[in-house]
Symmetry: C2
Subunit: 343 residues, 2 copies
């Protein structure tokens, strides 16, 4: 096989008896190059199969047109949709996307943040690892004017962009929906020792909705899960159904949990939604397919990704120091389906 070497602007320059700088300018339609030359250069570039070396451009200009994504995993539907949204928005502005998975490990997140920095990404979009409490490893971005956007799982005390939903309101709306359907005793699942505000906020929405409607909050209807998995959901639901006075509704802060609840109920002969109404969270594909299909809270993953990417790209174009690091709230909606429709 022949050993091609990459075609450079110097190769083009030599062929056309021009300077490399002229080639560079011609390729980007610089005004000081004549149309004739521009046409000639572009033509030859195509003929020779020239492909610009982004490394060289990035090194010189300190601009890479690359967005780094740092998330726990790519396999969760919410996160893969997030990536998709980012990638589409990035693509439109000719940005590339480089992805790293922290697997919810703090140490990996630290290492990967460093790696992204090392790659001189133009901006970073991050959803924090479960383990992460300290966020000082993101300072390297802030300190170097590399825009940083946290999405969904965001730190409380870090002055940068955030794209989130209003988890409190979402939890409130979900619970209120169940109340409106006639539920009197509504259970809730929540991960144990969640550092962040995400699930706590949903829970707070839940308790506030109850309180507002004069429904007492019963601690044995609120179950803490070690992990947010199907199996943990089943266990928790069985625990709920075993109560002397079992619940007649459930707000699950994730669709997988909601599915486990619906199926556990069905197995025990409990009618959904008549005896036990369920609402989930996220609008994962599965919520629509399972029978009965599951009421849920929409979580606009792709939109969030798009918003995050656009924040970075916009911020890169005009860096206004005085810009407050805004929080972007995206809307959620109650999607009523069979699992909670009683009236």
């Amino acid at each position: 096989m022949e050993e091609h070497r990459h075609v450079t602007i110097y190769d083009i320059a030599q062929k056309l008896n021009l300077a490399a700088s002229t080639i560079s300018r011609a390729l980007k339609d610089h005004h000081s190059i004549s149309d004739k030359t521009i046409k000639k250069v572009k033509q030859t570039a195509k003929e020779m199969g020239f492909v610009p070396n982004t490394l060289a451009a990035g090194l010189r200009g300190n601009v890479t047109k690359t967005i780094g994504i740092l998330i726990p995993t790519v396999t969760q539907p919410f996160l893969s949709s997030l990536i998709s949204g980012i990638e589409i928005a990035a693509q439109k502005s000719d940005y590339s996307v480089i992805i790293m998975q922290s697997h919810d490990s703090y140490q990996m997140e630290v290492d990967m943040a460093k790696s992204l920095y090392s790659n001189r990404v133009s901006g970073v979009i991050c959803s924090l690892a479960m383990e992460t409490k300290d966020t000082s490893h993101f300072k390297q971005f802030s300190n170097n004017n590399i825009p940083l956007v946290f999405v969904d799982r965001v730190p409380k005390d870090y002055d940068t962009f955030r794209v989130v939903i209003n988890n409190y309101l979402a939890g409130y709306k979900a619970t209120k929906h169940l109340i409106e359907q006639g539920c009197k005793r509504i259970a809730h699942l929540t991960p144990v020792s969640e550092f962040g505000s995400l699930y706590n906020e949903r829970k707070r929405g839940y308790t506030d909705a109850l309180a507002e409607h004069g429904i007492p909050i019963e601690n044995n209807l609120i179950i803490s899960l070690k992990k947010i998995t199907y199996e943990e959901g089943v266990k928790a639901c069985n625990q709920l159904f075993d109560l002397k006075n079992p619940p007649d509704g459930l707000f699950a802060p994730g669709d997988l949990l909601a599915v486990s609840a619906v199926q556990t109920a069905k197995k025990r002969g409990i009618k959904v939604p008549d005896q036990f109404a369920v609402i989930g969270f996220n609008n994962d594909p599965i919520s629509e397919i399972i029978e009965p299909n599951i009421s849920t809270i929409t979580h606009p993953a792709e939109k969030m990704g798009k918003a995050a990417a656009e924040l970075i790209i916009k911020n890169l174009k005009s860096v206004k120091e005085e810009d407050a690091k805004e929080i972007t709230f995206l809307n959620t909606q109650v999607l009523v389906r069979e699992s909670s429709r009683k009236i």
Copy 2:
């Protein structure tokens, strides 16, 4: 905010009164640098917050330690698991992963291939877009000794690495399983005008299994779908059930289709698996959760990703020209669950 500039080896060199080359060598434990100097350099580098600039290293050494992924979309469970596998394997060898979505468009695939080349990725892992018939846009990689691995949706006639499952065998095994369960009239869904061998192979396995067991192949039991979606699946199944002599089994080449089949059957009062046994493909998360849960063919997505990444990394370490561009076949298994268990 103070305007930091990136710390470079020159900054370290100046501080320690050494040459930049010494810093560079010290940081990678070059033998010609004394232990004392190495220790001192590393110490200072850490203190100053030095992070190597991969662009510079990549430009100079023509080595980027980056793997490009070019796939239709990241939101399909199979593909996001594939990414996960690639990322994990890459991470182990200190490679980064850059992702692009072709959205099954040929033109986007062409553009993105160019972009990956422009980013001077060390290797490329690709699952072809549906539209893609011509694969000449991958020549730029082959011509420049950039290892290229096709996964799952691979071209027929391109001399490079492939990581696939044996779709023929998988289709055969799935169909045989249904036959063994006592099915006499087994239907099959398949995408219309599929260019590649993937679904055709599965179908071939299906027809061969039938033939081998003396079961006639009935063309009205084989339905072509425009798209592989839930809705198309429902439509096709209704068409099947409307037949004078409806099938008693179905081999669906995807779990989503299998789910649509099971649910359509249930809605029409057809007992699964007794009257209608179903087996899907991929072992998507949903197949395990739906009720009845769905028999399927395992599709080792993460393993395939891992294998593909390792092929690239291995090939990068020792480029043996004479190496045949091997095909890696990964195993699939019949996962028998409720939707097809009759005996």
